[in-house]
Symmetry: C2
């Protein structure tokens, strides 16, 4: 048996020889074991339920996020894709291969194999539908236009946006979160492969969080604690789940806004700690709001200093993001740091340095009941006024409707197609 | 106190106010605590010793690797950089900030802060000197040309190389490995900032491994176990450390070859399992060599099938990489998977698909006693013959001399400058 320089992927002679020698059976045995060993329960997040996992699920350490352009010519092909994704997602989140590996060694494996033995690693797969699924250049490709939620609007152009098309938008999205980067990567890779005939990758983004310390808020790449004021688990349900105002297929679902935010880390690092704290509205090391003492103290938005100036500046990041600044509007942030190396860039603020700089920052992910009363409402003001903007550049943007969870026998988004 | 739209990083009025109000002292207190809490011993890898850490250290889960171009005008500035890196590295690998944070809030922090509270996470920082430090365009910038090891050669152009200058070479290198991606990222960021007057980032590369399972060889993104035949800890010393043949400053050091290897994952996934196994020379699921039964069985390189053909093909990856194929030559691989998203590419083999494809694969790192009798010797053959080449493209390349470890009071590479 020799490869002999042949690049042909289907080497039937070798397959035959292997089968004759009984090797195929031995290999199949290996596969069956790798394929069926169940992941420990603590390592698994149930895929099915009233809501999709990966939204209220406590954040895993890594994300691999993918947006797809749908190429399916008709509704049936789109449904077939969602059915195949559903089957694969149920297996992957249980720590199994995307499909049973099979015994025919002449054929490509049903799974690329790099997650064998890694368990489920708390993998969640969260699916979203972009505006283009409902309408693309005025065309109702899949007969879904009438079912588009009014809340699934295209995001407006925000002040300062420098969006790159290759990092923005998409008809379908999959957020893979896991406590192992290879498990998250593997899941997206399998789904992309299953999509080959019906959708193609448009962009992907990896991200990470620091290792969790019980009860501690993780710090972002600006060195500040990030997420202190996120809704608690108890409060989050009212913040994220669409209700009776939504089409029935979206009731119990949530809207996801994704923004790739490059941070001028080199510039930030040259600013004084006091300036950083004024910009943010919190102390850097303790996380306490300015004018307060402890991280979880309420923001003293009305407090003034001896000169009558607000202790938390009018353009401080936490003030502009606070629910009190937007009639109580909240969203659930679920972002990750990203690190895409260095590239040539020009800083947007004095001293306008140019050269190689980190392409790193925040892959912002936020879930909400309605983006119009969530991210859009909050960020329209922040994009204009936030003192932090001089260090941040939004280079990618997308919005998706993530349908409610599914029960046994349903496929992802089944209710959308049932109602259409 | 208000930021008031001012982009000036040095806001002395606010600093004065903060100091007057006693806030500076409170902040300094926070800093002192964050700064001095020692990392648990199990979480720390000693920075000083006969050899640099990060070579024989059991692999951590994440790498952040940086190569720098030196801009220092003279030898003293280069030495000052290495001294400052040494001080910072000793602190960082102990889980501390790069420097004491200080109490003057009007000034930039001595550390960007995102690793506060994360501990040492087994951080290792391994430093290397590229050929350009000894000679650049024929110039002996730092009076080191006479001390260049004969083993520190520029790598030849290998068959199939598609090297990108922005991902290759460098005068200095730092390999940061840690069990937390944010700890590794943070360390490189601090060193890059300390280098500002003497060196600038040329390229950086992040990578990851799957979560370690005791006694299991991790799988690479091709789905195969990777590292089975790596030298054991007992054997590695003879493989990696330069001896009496090297200049005295390099005795106990090691040579690092870094290669960024893009893998055509989509193409690989369309090939049969049997073909993949023939290409690799091992079984995909068990890791056993073809013609053997268990992962750690010796490679049966002389075994033939009933037709007289070798069971492990002449161009199989494991055969061409085996020490027996190169007069016993070995190296220590210490690579990581990388995932840099998707980009437009053209496959190099039938069916020559073009379009968006993963820019993902292997960030290959290998240590050896002499690259001429290590990577170069092995890869000159593999680059021409390895059946795996149809799926791999080397897009980045660099070589560095990593000096021996240092004792208390020495700085990185001190022996190089002492001998010069």
């Amino acid at each position: 048996m020799t490869v002999g320089g042949c690049a042909c992927p289907f080497a039937s002679r070798r397959a035959l020889l292997a089968a004759t020698a009984g090797l195929a059976g031995a290999i199949a045995g290996h596969r069956a074991r790798a394929d069926t060993a169940p992941a420990p329960a603590a390592d698994r997040v149930p895929f099915r339920g009233a809501h999709q996992a990966g939204i209220l699920t406590p954040q895993q350490s890594h994300v691999s996020f993918a947006a797809f352009d749908v190429t399916a010519p008709h509704r049936a092909a789109l449904i077939a894709l969602l059915r195949s994704w559903t089957e694969a997602a149920e297996r992957l989140t249980a720590g199994a291969t995307a499909a049973p590996l099979g015994a025919d060694v002449s054929q490509p494996g049903a799974d690329s194999g790099e997650a064998l033995g890694l368990g489920a690693a708390r993998l969640t797969l969260t699916f979203g539908f972009g505006p283009g699924l409902f309408e693309q250049n005025g065309a109702d490709r899949f007969g879904l236009a009438a079912l588009r939620p009014s809340a699934l609007v295209e995001l407006p152009r925000f002040n300062g946006d420098q969006l790159v098309p290759e990092r923005s938008d998409g008809d379908l999205a999959v957020q893979a979160c896991a406590d192992d980067p290879q498990v998250a990567f593997h899941a997206i890779r399998q789904l992309a492969r299953l999509a080959a005939a019906a959708a193609r990758l448009r962009w992907v983004q990896a991200g990470f969080l620091p290792r969790a310390r019980a009860g501690e808020t993780p710090r972002n790449l600006m060195g500040f604690k990030d997420g202190t004021n996120n809704p608690s688990a108890a409060d989050a349900a009212a913040v994220v789940w669409a209700g009776a105002e939504a089409p029935s297929w979206m009731q119990g679902g949530s809207y996801l806004v994704a923004r790739r935010i490059r941070i001028a880390l080199e510039h930030w690092d040259r600013t004084g700690i006091d300036f950083q704290e004024q910009t943010m509205g919190r102390r850097k090391y303790s996380g306490a709001p300015l004018g307060a003492h402890h991280e979880f103290d309420p923001l003293p938005l009305d407090a003034t200093d001896a000169d009558g100036n607000p202790v938390i500046a009018e353009n401080a990041h936490v003030r502009l993001g606070a629910p009190a600044s937007h009639g109580g509007t909240r969203l659930l942030r679920r972002g990750y740091a990203y690190d895409d190396g260095v590239s040539v860039t020009a800083e947007r603020w004095p001293p306008w340095r140019q050269g190689l700089a980190y392409d790193a920052g925040l892959f912002f992910l936020a879930y909400q009941r309605d983006p119009r009363d969530g991210f859009i409402r909050i960020f329209e003001t922040m994009a204009k006024l936030d003192a932090l903007n001089q260090f941040t550049t939004h280079t990618g943007s997308a919005v998706f409707a993530c349908p409610r969870g599914i029960q046994t026998g349903e496929f992802i988004g089944a209710a959308l197609f049932a109602s259409g």
